[in-house]
């Protein structure tokens, strides 16, 4: 709750306060507010805070994604000392919107949050105050309004089909399908899935680079938080094929389209489209609630670094040629750029690879093999443009560029400050066409240090992806439970495990046995279940009749031998969405 209060309250107060305090001060207030909110998200990690009659539900998923969003917001703030006090304010609004969106199970709150998030972004897109900026803003706005209308209509139909505004309400029939698909469309628009992606390249290119950074890193966070709640694998037969089609188009279009680009921001816009598709793969699997946040974090870090470096070059268009020789001109920027590009490309052992690995295996678990292959093939195609950037960074700078560098250095000397004006590493003369945004973001100490911190985090995720995964996993350290089931198995088509836990741990998402084949019937053999924690007991149900307590996970890995009685008469079993007793798997 405190996180919400801090974010919303601070945003409101700061709106008024900005009239009296200086611009820089309001920026730092915003920064510290974000930090504070982030810290409060960490308090009671693993616990779910529920408020407002369940409309606010701050669980691990929400916590993790809020922190990702806050990181993005902090980055944008620290990079972009805009020349109007509203900039930090708008960023703060957007982050608050993401937080609200990530921590609600209610569709109406989601749509409100979506607007809270979007309206600042429309404005930020025009921040440049030039033709391109306005064009970007207007396109974003009109398409966004259209998407919002579609979302609302979807909510209306959803209500008609289920009688509820809460996610996860059971439903069926064409009306339900239509409702879910309308909602899917709205979110597909937000995360720029083909063919609802049209805004993305134009807006990314037309916005100031700092804003693009913000969009690229956090907007997806909000949308995926909501999608993870709405599109759970239980409803796979309703929306699965639709999402699969969208993902297929997305990864194809994103990667192929990027091949033709010559402007850096636009290139990474296409890359971002493709990545949206990849992240979407995580929705299919049973543990998308963990792997998608991991992807968002690692992708956010890498893309953030890329756009941060771009921002230090310019807030305007950045032809790819301007990246030439970055390694020789600014080794830190060049190196960071290179590593991040490789991470986004998904080359092991960088974090991007682990992220891709995780979401791809989600799709594989769900049996979407064609999609997995396509995703991997398009990743390989994507390698071309990522490597293009990579090697541009490591190319020798041209003579003209070297001359410009000297000029810039002279300019720096003139200002006599190292805390300086973002010396454009580029050929753009100082002071030209920077619009409302401050000149290319500072390359001073704070900026560089945040870059280093991001790099460090990326490195950490690369070396220890398990750490990131744990971070987003609900509950304390999970224990592994192995169950050996001896025959007979006929007739046990609806069976489940439950963990009887001493203290109920609400899970936003049932954590399936990762190692048991999903959707299969209960079979003899060894099964390993993840989740559960030391002290939990394992109970096995067959056709909804309990087989009794079969073992407890006092250690990290327990083997229990289950001997099934003769087949019980089969009965229809629909798994209830229990609150306290969390069903772990509905079938082995």
């Amino acid at each position: 709750m405190t996180t919400l209060y801090i974010l919303v309250g601070l945003a409101t107060v700061l709106t008024l306060l900005s009239f009296v305090v200086s611009r820089e001060a309001s920026r730092y207030i915003a920064v510290s507010g974000l930090l504070l909110a982030g810290l409060y998200s960490l308090v009671d990690w693993g616990q779910t805070v529920i408020g407002f009659g369940g409309l606010y539900q701050f669980d691990t998923l929400a916590r993790g994604l809020t922190i990702v969003a806050i990181l993005g917001g902090l980055w944008a703030l620290l990079l972009g000392p805009a020349r109007k006090f509203e900039f930090p304010l708008l960023v703060l609004f957007a982050v608050a919107g993401i937080h609200i969106m990530a921590s609600t199970p209610n569709l109406v709150v989601m749509v409100i949050a979506l607007e809270i998030l979007s309206l600042p972004l429309y404005v930020l897109a025009t921040w440049q105050r030039n033709e391109k900026g306005f064009e970007a803003g207007l396109k974003y706005f009109l398409l966004g309004a259209l998407a919002a209308a579609i979302f609302l209509y979807g909510i209306a139909l959803y209500f008609g089909a289920t009688g509820s505004f809460a996610v996860g309400a059971a439903g069926s029939g064409p009306l339900y399908t239509a409702a879910l698909l309308l909602i899917l469309t709205a979110f597909a628009f937000k995360i720029a899935m083909v063919p609802f992606h049209w805004w993305a390249p134009d807006v990314y290119q037309g916005s100031p680079t700092v804003v693009t950074l913000f969009m690229a890193t956090v907007v997806k966070v909000a949308a995926f938080a909501a999608m993870l709640r709405i599109f759970t694998p239980e409803g796979l037969e309703v929306w699965g094929m639709a999402l699969a089609a969208l993902i297929a188009l997305t990864i194809l279009f994103g990667n192929l389209g990027a091949l033709a680009q010559s402007e850096a921001k636009r290139l990474f816009a296409y890359s971002s489209i493709a990545n949206a598709g990849y992240i979407g793969l995580g929705l299919f699997g049973p543990t998308g609630g963990i792997t998608i946040p991991f992807y968002l974090l690692s992708y956010g870090l890498a893309t953030g670094i890329i756009f941060a470096v771009l921002a230090m070059l310019s807030n305007q268009d950045i032809p790819l040629e301007r990246l030439r020789g970055l390694w020789y001109r600014r080794p830190l920027l060049g190196g960071a750029m290179a590593i991040s590009v490789l991470s986004v490309l998904g080359l092991p052992p960088l974090a991007g690879f682990w992220a891709k690995f995780m979401v791809f295996q989600e799709a594989a678990l769900a049996g979407f093999w064609g999609l997995v292959v396509l995703a991997l093939l398009t990743s390989a195609i994507g390698a071309y443009y990522y490597l293009k950037v990579f090697f541009l960074v490591f190319s020798r700078p041209t003579l003209v560029q070297e001359a410009d560098d000297r000029e810039a250095e002279a300019a720096l000397a003139e200002f006599g400050s190292s805390e300086a004006p973002g010396i454009p590493v580029s050929s753009a003369p100082l002071g030209l066409t920077q619009g409302l945004m401050a000149p290319a973001a500072h390359t001073g100490l704070p900026t560089l240090s945040i870059l280093l911190v991001a790099l460090g985090l990326l490195g950490l995720l690369s070396i220890l992806p398990a750490l990131g995964l744990r971070f987003f996993s609900p509950g304390p350290t999970t224990a592994t439970v192995a169950a050996t089931i001896t025959a007979p198995t006929v007739g046990y088509s609806h069976s489940e495990y439950r963990f009887i836990t001493p203290n109920p741990r609400p899970l936003h998402h049932p954590l399936h046995a990762l190692r048991a084949p999903p959707g299969g019937a209960l079979t003899a053999g060894s099964h390993t279940l993840l989740d559960g924690s030391p002290g939990d007991s394992l109970e096995l149900f067959a056709n909804r009749s309990p087989l009794g307590l079969v073992g407890d996970c006092s250690e990290r890995r327990v083997t229990v031998v289950v001997t099934l009685p003769l087949p019980a008469p089969s009965c229809e079993a629909v798994r209830p969405r229990g609150q306290d007793l969390t069903p772990i798997v509905d079938s082995l």
Binding site: F52, L55, L90, I112, V123, L157, Q434, L436, A438
Partner: protein, 185 residues
């Protein structure tokens, strides 16, 4: 379900005004058609036992929001601005087809709707019954607060948008000198 004459009339009016909104060449006329449409909708709301909503529809939606539209249309003298050559002359046909398809699909989906046999009464949708829902912390208070916040956001956003020259004319006193550059133009 019986369909009465008033319902037919209202439906025809709804569709006509809606088509007018999207087809009338004069922007002012289109906005006026939208107001008419909203008024018809408000009437329908009353018929559907949503009286408070109907009131808000008239006061806020038709009365304030669309009037804002009218205001802006006039401000920009965009009422009947000649747009020059249409770059995509065949687009209306495609859009028409798309709209028909969309309508068809939605109608098909809605036709599967199964209303409950005996719905609880709505008590006319009066403020007395909506109010407790709206202000109950266990119900919709959260959303209401958020909507308030949203309006704040919208206000700030709009202010930022329409006051672009502030910086150009008077750079903030605390603008660090290390931020060279001027606003465009």
């Amino acid at each position: 379900m019986s369909v009465g004459i008033w319902e037919i009339v209202a439906l025809v009016l709804l569709v006509i005004t809606a088509i007018a909104v999207v087809r009338l060449q004069n922007a002012v006329h289109a906005a006026l058609a939208l107001i008419a449409n909203f008024l018809v909708v408000a009437g329908v709301y009353v018929a559907l036992e949503a009286r408070f909503v109907a009131m808000i529809q008239i006061i806020v939606y038709a009365g304030a929001i669309v009037v804002l539209f009218l205001f802006v249309i006039m401000l920009l003298s965009a009422a009947s601005a000649s747009m020059g050559k249409d770059l995509f002359p065949r687009l209306p046909w495609v859009a028409g087809l798309g709209a028909v398809g969309l309508a068809g699909v939605l109608l098909l989906a809605l036709s599967h709707f199964q209303p409950p046999a005996s719905p609880p009464p709505l008590q006319g949708g009066l403020p007395q019954v909506l109010g407790p829902l709206l202000y109950d912390p266990q119900q919709w208070l959260y959303a209401l607060l958020l909507v308030g916040f949203l309006l704040l956001v919208a206000t700030v956003a709009a202010v930022v948008l329409i006051e672009p020259e502030r910086i150009a004319s008077q750079p903030g006193p605390e603008a660090p000198k290390d931020e060279p550059g001027v606003a465009e133009r």
